[in-house]
């Protein structure tokens, strides 16, 4: 008989061939986990190849998920349970497994051929090399086939169901209900009754196998997390961005227009938005990124909320047009779902190395506001804010997310639409005198007049504009003045955005300054360090340009300032230049989230002097 153990938090990783359906399996586990009320955080990790040859190391696709009975923000540094569907998956992922961690391996996949492809000389399931772990070697393929013996599909199709068998095992192990996945199978394979049958059977078979056999001795339970009451759903960063944009457009009374071009890991924003024609969302798959951003600017110019989304190489191409939007002062949201660089880099990996590109990747003095999401769900709020500021200030705004946020998921407390404030930024109307470059003294923003408005016909362009009239001007003093005005306008944004997250004392030994997706890791590391008695303070920036006003005072109250980033040190340079404090970077540029324990160590080092 099995015993049941309570756990606080668990990290599980599903790993197999690109064709093994690991992303799907992980997503199902996530959905079910969300439904039972755990907090959670996920990290899909898949290769750049669409479907690399079976069994190879570079073809391994992984999906990691941490779930917990308390608030968590990272997918976990170390893995407690590794599901390995083949030798390559084991080989690639074993390094992440904690001592005495659990391995559930598909023994049938450990054929000679596969072992060789993975570079194993001997079968690790048998040679004792996995002694430090709890190994469960299960003939998953064979058991699945047996379970499906009566289903009328090809044996190739039967083998495709083996991921559901593995999922069934883990559902038993963590006392999860099967309903969510069973329902999903019915919807997904609607019209294909044999596949519904096969996958349901495989799932049940895995669950029953684990329940029935003596192999597994322990089930684990993770209590519901205590969080704000309300209605929740699971959401990825790319989904959240999409929803945030749709809500922003509706709240602003402008149709949403996305001009885009596919690129990993930003494409899903285009895919998501393309579904919502009935929300008056227009998506335009352009011929390239330049046309994508150009069409978005054109759409904004004629009254829509123009948005473009891409990743580093695509953003590079957009830079000329972004400068044009700065000059013409047309609202635009530019989303950069950052990935590993430089150049094509590591397309499916995460990184924060495009911050400087957002700040400075244009010719001339072309300042613009920059906001970065801190978690998958925060992508909703940042998208809303980005759109709001773009419209309010008639400016392009950069929204930075990254591969980890884009594909990672967490529970999201669904807001009440009625509670989200309107974005009331009027357009110029007929009948009044109109000066295209007259500015609101509070924001320094100009008021736009859109085509179709009688009597307000005017011309804009990328040549320097005369103050007030917007006519072309080569006047030296006017240019100097306009350069200043554009800069000041961006600074004014500071008055209209929420303050950054801050925790800890307002002075002390160490202040951590972070931005973007490192939020989760820093959260955990700070929590951990505090548990260890380190009095560390932490400010997490969401708006990076302009920097929050309070930071200037705060930052000088600390002996040390540490800036963790997944780049070679970008925000840290901006902080140093701005505040002249000897801020230090903590940089690990591996295409992966930072590791909590490394950061904890780094923090500790500041207290061990």
């Amino acid at each position: 008989m099995s015993q049941s153990t309570h756990l606080d938090q668990v990290t599980i990783r599903f790993a197999g061939d690109s064709g093994d359906g690991m992303q799907l399996t992980g997503t199902q586990f996530t959905n079910t986990t969300a439904m039972v009320g755990n907090d959670l955080s996920t990290l899909p990790d898949y290769p750049a190849e669409i479907r690399a040859p079976a069994g190879t190391l570079f073809g391994v696709s992984g999906f990691q998920l941490q779930f917990s009975s308390h608030e968590i923000h990272t997918p976990g540094d170390q893995v407690d349970v590794l599901v390995a569907m083949n030798p390559a998956a084991l080989k690639v992922n074993l390094q992440h497994l904690r001592d005495n961690g659990i391995i559930i391996a598909n023994a049938d996949a450990f054929s000679l051929r596969n072992l060789k492809l993975a570079g194993y000389e001997q079968n690790p399931l048998e040679d004792g090399s996995l002694e430090g772990f709890q190994l469960f070697s299960v003939p998953i393929t064979r058991l699945t086939r047996e379970a499906l013996v009566e289903v009328a599909i090809s044996s190739k199709d039967k083998d495709r169901s083996k991921n559901f068998f593995a999922l069934g095992i883990t559902y038993w192990m963590f006392s999860r209900p099967l309903e969510v996945t069973l329902k999903w199978i019915e919807e997904k394979f609607a019209g294909k009754p044999e596949l519904i049958e096969a996958n349901k059977k495989a799932l049940n078979a895995g669950y029953s196998y684990a329940l029935a056999t003596e192999v597994f001795t322990t089930t684990y339970t993770v209590e519901k997390a205590k969080t704000t009451p309300g209605k929740y759903r699971k959401i990825t960063g790319n989904e959240a961005v999409s929803l945030g944009l749709i809500v922003a457009a509706e709240k602003a009374g402008r149709p949403l227009f996305l001009g885009g071009y596919p690129i990993t890991p930003a494409s899903d924003i285009l895919h998501n938005l393309a579904k919502y024609r009935h929300y008056d969302v227009k998506t335009f798959q352009a011929e390239d990124e330049i046309a994508g951003v150009g069409s978005a600017i054109g759409a904004s110019y004629s009254g829509a909320l123009g948005v473009t989304a891409s990743s580093g190489p695509g953003i590079a191409l957009k830079s000329e047009f972004i400068g044009y939007a700065v000059m013409t002062e047309i609202p635009l949201v530019v989303i950069n779902v950052q990935r590993g660089g430089p150049s094509t880099g590591l397309p499916t990996k995460t990184e924060q190395a495009d911050l400087f590109q957002a700040f400075y990747g244009r010719n001339g003095e072309a300042p613009l506001p920059i906001v970065a999401a801190k978690s998958p769900a925060d992508c909703f709020q940042t998208a809303l804010e980005a759109a709001h500021m773009a419209i309010k200030f008639a400016t392009p705004v950069f929204l930075l997310t990254d591969g980890y946020l884009a594909n990672g998921a967490e529970p999201w407390l669904i807001p009440d639409v009625a509670d989200i404030p309107e974005i009331k930024e009027p357009l110029a109307v007929s009948g009044k005198e109109y000066l295209p470059y007259k500015r609101d003294p509070k924001t320094l923003a100009r008021t736009m007049a859109v085509p179709g408005t009688e009597g307000l016909e005017h011309r804009l362009g990328g040549l320097e504009k005369e103050d007030l009239t917007g006519n072309v001007s080569y006047d030296p003093e006017n240019h100097h003045n306009m350069v200043r005005l554009r800069q000041k306008k961006v600074e004014k944004v500071a008055g209209f955005i929420p303050p950054p997250d801050f925790s800890g004392e307002e002075q002390g030994v160490l202040l951590i300054v972070s931005w973007g997706s490192t939020f989760g890791t820093v959260f955990s590391a700070v929590e951990e360090a505090r548990k260890q008695g380190r009095q560390v303070s932490w400010i997490h920036l969401r708006w990076i340009n302009p920097l929050p006003e309070m930071l200037g005072k705060l930052i000088h109250n600390f002996k040390h300032v540490l800036v963790p980033e997944i780049n070679a040190g970008q925000l840290v340079k901006i902080i140093r230049a701005e505040y002249l404090v000897d801020a230090r970077g903590f940089d690990r540029v591996r295409g992966l989230p930072l590791q909590t324990h490394e950061l904890v160590e780094e923090i500790s080092s500041y207290f061990e002097e």
């Binding site: 227009k282 054109g298 085509p451």
Partner: protein, 342 residues
């Protein structure tokens, strides 16, 4: 569905002054651009759209300053990218009448890709390509329409490349209206531009435009009163391909190629048909401007009715609404699996 309130409804009549902005025109004296500007200001009152619904979009080049001089909405873009801006403008607000003003460098060098994609998509905008076969604004380098061997600042020993034939490119890319006109034939120009503007879908007009500073006389052969009759054949719908000072020559189709012959009336005359010319003849006609000993065709090559991208998008939105209902924000946020925490 087109919701433009036309002038007739509004009962107001424009004159060309209504389309003249307060900006001083900044082209070289004698530049062919002036004539195109004049025709545009003249035809817009004819077009019957409200001036606040008109948008001129351009790239960069001498020609691309055009929007500044029109008292309509206008966007002077960046080099080569006017089609991108125009696509966004038209798709976001299909009620607008959108013109793209571009040069041979702007449209066919840096902007070649946007140009062919615009044609392919058949977005309802009208493209005027000011072809002076030179980069004017940057002071005279050869362009993708300059003849091979051209000596310019950037090709002091002669350029090495064959030019593009803009009409051919537009035809191949799928533009539904394709025409050619000339700065120095103002009547024809005005009529052609008006027809182009009225056409639903991507309309493309190549305009031979003289740059009297850097490429003076490039089209002299076709515009000079002495030589034009023998060197230009006007394409007129349902009329023969006749030309010559005495209207004494015509283009004869031998089943594969055009030939120049003395004109003779026949029982089954070969007449031009903009709506439905076979692709073979379209391209054969387009090729004539590349050949020696043939007149250059001026007029409308193609005028085909086809659904526009903007109309299809509007239709798709309506259909999705019909099947799914107008979107509800709260429902949207709550889609997928949800759960309650109490």
């Amino acid at each position: 569905m087109n919701t433009i309130e036309t002038l007739e409804q509004k009962e107001k009549k424009y004159t060309k002054e209504d389309f003249t902005s307060d900006q001083e025109v900044r082209w070289c004296p004698g530049c062919g651009d002036y004539s195109i500007l004049a025709q545009m200001r003249r035809l817009l009152p004819e077009l019957g759209v409200k001036k606040e619904n008109v948008v001129f979009v351009s790239g960069i080049g001498c020609s691309s300053r055009f929007p500044y001089y029109m008292d309509t909405y206008g966007l002077h873009g960046i080099h080569g990218r006017a089609p991108a801006l125009a696509s966004g403008i038209k798709l976001a607000n299909p009620d607008l009448t959108v013109f793209v003003i571009t040069g041979d460098g702007d449209a066919l060098s840096i902007g070649g890709n946007h140009f062919i994609h615009l044609c392919r998509r058949n977005i309802d905008v009208t493209v005027l390509l000011f072809n002076n076969r030179i980069y004017g604004l940057t002071k005279g380098q050869y362009s993708p329409t300059s003849e091979r061997g051209k000596i310019t600042k950037s090709s002091p020993y002669g350029s090495l490349e064959e030019p593009f034939n803009p009409v051919k490119m537009a035809l191949a890319a799928g533009a539904t209206f394709v025409a050619r006109s000339m700065d120095r034939d103002p009547k024809h120009l005005e009529a052609t531009l008006l027809e182009a503007a009225r056409h639903k879908g991507t309309s493309f007009v190549e305009i031979y435009q003289n740059c009297n500073i850097f490429n003076d006389g490039a089209f002299e052969k076709y515009t000079n009163i002495k030589t034009r009759f023998d060197n230009v054949v006007y394409l007129k719908n349902e009329q023969e391909y006749r030309f010559g000072r005495e209207n004494d020559k015509h283009l004869f189709w031998d089943g594969h190629r055009f030939r120049v012959e003395e004109w003779k009336a026949t029982e089954e005359p070969l007449t031009h048909n903009t709506d439905n010319l076979p692709v073979s003849m379209e391209f054969a006609l387009a090729e004539l401007s590349e050949l020696e000993d043939f007149p250059v065709p001026v007029g409308v090559f193609r005028k085909r009715q086809a659904e526009t991208y903007d109309a299809l998008l509007t239709k798709q939105i309506e259909e999705v609404k019909k099947s799914k209902g107008q979107g509800d924000l709260q429902k949207l946020l709550e889609s997928g699996n949800t759960w309650h925490v109490d």
